[in-house]
Subunit: 357 residues, 3 copies
């Protein structure tokens, strides 16, 4: 059985096929409107995320399927102390496919150990959010016309933004990609992204602090939000914040063919006036996201009998607990600490992939 | 594309047709049970309202359609600071029709600016609640046999009760209507309702404080709840409250043909013993409400390609913020203050219709 | 019209038929997948219970029906002070069948007074939870091969565990049943269960404190959770807790044919390592639960025109309020206290069945 926990669980060929199928669905919705009749999707959202949940639910309903679930953990048995393992085990006995979102990193890996049906990670803390990346890739492919030969600017909070890390990981598999990483010093891209993804794949990149100065070279501008809470020094935030707001004035320096993406929700990092610019494709991006989720659900249901695509990392039980405070292994009861050695011989947590000191 | 934000967005002819269709549905439910197959309704409830939400959801499901949404703002991206504008824009890319409820007045007018599908106001603070009024009108038409030639008593909190204001507005368009406005002095009908609706349409009315003394003349009695919180002087509330409770004793003085309506939920303003009286039609009213919502959904989906019925009031951007503390324009980010001049040359907020000082 | 409020509302013959139908559904799901087309189930959960709610919702969807409802009281009109009576009255005007869960004991009996459609009790406080017992019975029948000739161990919190009381009540109607009641002294089975169920039906039982010593004689082991909060003396809890945890070591002393059940969610009263033991059937139990709910929904919809099966106990209005602090009659407005005399001439509350002092 196949699952989707990390965008890298899918080959570039599989992603290309998902994009093709999603475009076919978009053009021929009636041919798909009964294809999942009598199939049930559970949307298990241990933390709220309306955008993602409604996208999944609308996707399944548009395939003729049915939906059930919960939209936050208070409404779930988790409030009574139930483990992720048991919840997934039980619900997977009721339904045909599960999309789960959880605030703890690595939670879907716990789910995969007991699920009896395909499992989709709809976001696990700051770790992964692969269906957002699928939406991003479909948007780039359809709006820019290609997934290679692109100069991609990513702007905002590059330190904590998991969508940014996933996007960089996913795009690093295409030819002739380069990145312009635009952020304040406080929120620069983490070392592990540079080392494990960019350097390893020989992807050119530069780190800059000015959106204004770098926008003219970009084919893609991927905007994200800068959160005030991230700054130790509020004055620093106030001084910086406007330089990371995309407005009509900054758009004037951009290429005619540049496309602006944003994972949404936005707060004020893109001025509303930009919405009218044809290069602003972030609302289209949500529609691509729905069609990609439809294609993904179809794929996973179809490939239910194929072997698992989740790399059973060469893990062993460890006596040492994961030191990532957001890791699922610290709260899930009776979950043994598991670790693996990555290609660079670094010992990592099998759930959240954090380095074990 | 047509929407429903205010009951006055519908002509009396359209309302009559909705009643006819709703009655046809009630008598022939099977003929409608697949009519919305593969159509999706989003119920976006930024504040909880079970009654209204379940009525909409059951209505859509009874038409063979599908439903998704959220039941309070905590479960929505709004908690992350997303604007109404963006939420409606995105969700309208997923579904075929939207019913939204919001605690802020005028919020659906913001939604109309970006929605790509028909939008129904399922209540915006103290402003409008047009589908409740549709339920009221269908109940009066079916139970009293007519929408004209009626003496209508409205009793309780006439100051803050939006359903009362909407009902008076809607009924003022029919012939030979008069109102008996029954309330304590603290909760009398506001001046603007008298001036802008009753006087303008030459509708006779009187204001009284005793339900007992006036019940005998009524064809319709529309009950509402009096909330303790509305009174500055609790002793005053305690002295008054029983005189606004409808009980079997007071019903004895009413006409045999009088009908009692209530928008529900009731707390104790109608004694449970009255439920058995055949003149009590407030539970039937909820069923009429469901069928009217079915008729409305059908109408809006059918007339999707017709021009908008939302009067683009002759608005202009104002430098002055709306002074209504409940207005959406005070909280929605980057929403410019817009105003218009009404027929009496009074300057009003384009969102919540409050007078701008 | 038939309802299900208490497992004893069903005869053993009806339960047997439900098991047969549920097994037929499990083997032939496609033959049932449209059987409830255009029927609506309302899941009215005045307190959260994901497990039970998702089981009901998946059951109805697997029958081709539709689902609407709410998952906690905050999202309901109850927050505005609406009575259970009115909520059930209104919702039963929208849908075909209702499953309700409520934190107050006896709440479904209030619902039955006004519902227009079949009502299922999905748990009312510490009172009843009959669909859990249906799941338990189907599990025992299918996994142990019979409902009679069984030595049944129930372990854990026997004082407050409503599932335990219901199971004992239900099993007491079968031949040659005996119980081993395993609990700490603080959490022994209440006197009324011994007197009114066990003694009355001449069921042999013994009360013991050691799971380890008694496991070898059991055909069925029904585990429940012991909550720390139940203990006045925390040291006592800490001393005891491990002896009520089922682990691989204790399982070694059990019969090869013994079956372990648990109503779930479990916290740590069954070690995860036991999950792999083929005698652990608590996850299968949840699947049996779904099929039993499907069978129950079918039965109640089919028997809609039959007379009510809810014993209209010979009640009379009482001037004395029920003294059970969890009784619905203390909070539901305008609900008269009703009492009845049971077979032993004890005066009981008609809602929660508590003895009236």
């Amino acid at each position: 059985m196949k699952h989707l926990l990390n965008i890298l669980d899918l080959s570039t060929k599989e992603i290309y096929e998902l994009i093709k199928v999603s475009n076919h669905i978009a053009r021929n919705p009636k041919r798909y409107q009964n294809i999942c009749a009598h199939k049930q999707l559970a949307t298990l959202f241990f933390e709220p995320s309306t955008r993602t949940r409604l996208s999944f639910e609308s996707a399944m309903l548009s395939l003729g399927g049915q939906v059930l679930g919960f939209s936050n953990a208070n409404a779930s048995s988790t409030a009574k102390g139930e483990s992720v393992r048991d919840t997934i085990k039980v619900v997977s006995g009721y339904v045909d496919i599960i999309a789960m979102r959880h605030p703890k990193e690595g939670a879907p890996y716990v789910g995969v150990e007991t699920t009896q049906v395909p499992l989709i990670n709809a976001g696990d803390g700051g770790h992964f959010h692969p269906t957002q990346t699928l939406a991003d890739l479909a948007t780039i492919y359809n709006e820019a016309g290609r997934l290679d030969n692109l100069v991609i600017g990513v702007c905002g909070d590059l330190k904590y933004g998991r969508t940014v890390h996933s996007l960089i990981g996913a795009m690093s598999r295409y030819k002739n990609i380069s990145f312009v990483l635009i952020s304040p010093d406080e929120l620069k891209i983490p070392e592990f992204v540079k080392k494990d993804i960019l350097d390893k794949n020989h992807i050119p990149y530069k780190e800059v602090t000015s959106l204004e100065d770098s926008i003219s070279k970009l084919d893609i501008l991927y905007m994200t939000r800068i959160q005030k809470e991230r700054f130790l020094d509020i004055k620093q935030f106030d001084r910086l914040k406007d330089s990371y707001v995309l407005d009509v004035k900054k758009m004037k320096n951009a290429k005619k063919s540049m496309k602006v993406l944003h994972p949404l929700p936005r707060v004020n990092e893109i001025a509303v006036e930009v919405d009218k610019d044809p290069r602003a494709v972030y609302f289209k991006q949500t529609v691509y996201g729905k069609y990609m989720r439809m294609a993904l659900i179809l794929k996973l249901l179809k490939e239910k009998k194929k072997p698992s695509n989740i790399k059973i990392k060469d893990t062993h039980i460890s006596t040492k607990r994961c030191s990532n405070p957001h890791c699922i292994s610290l709260v899930e009861q009776e979950l043994e600490a598991k670790v693996y050695k990555d290609e660079n011989k670094i010992v990592r947590c099998a759930y959240c992939d954090a380095e074990i000191d």
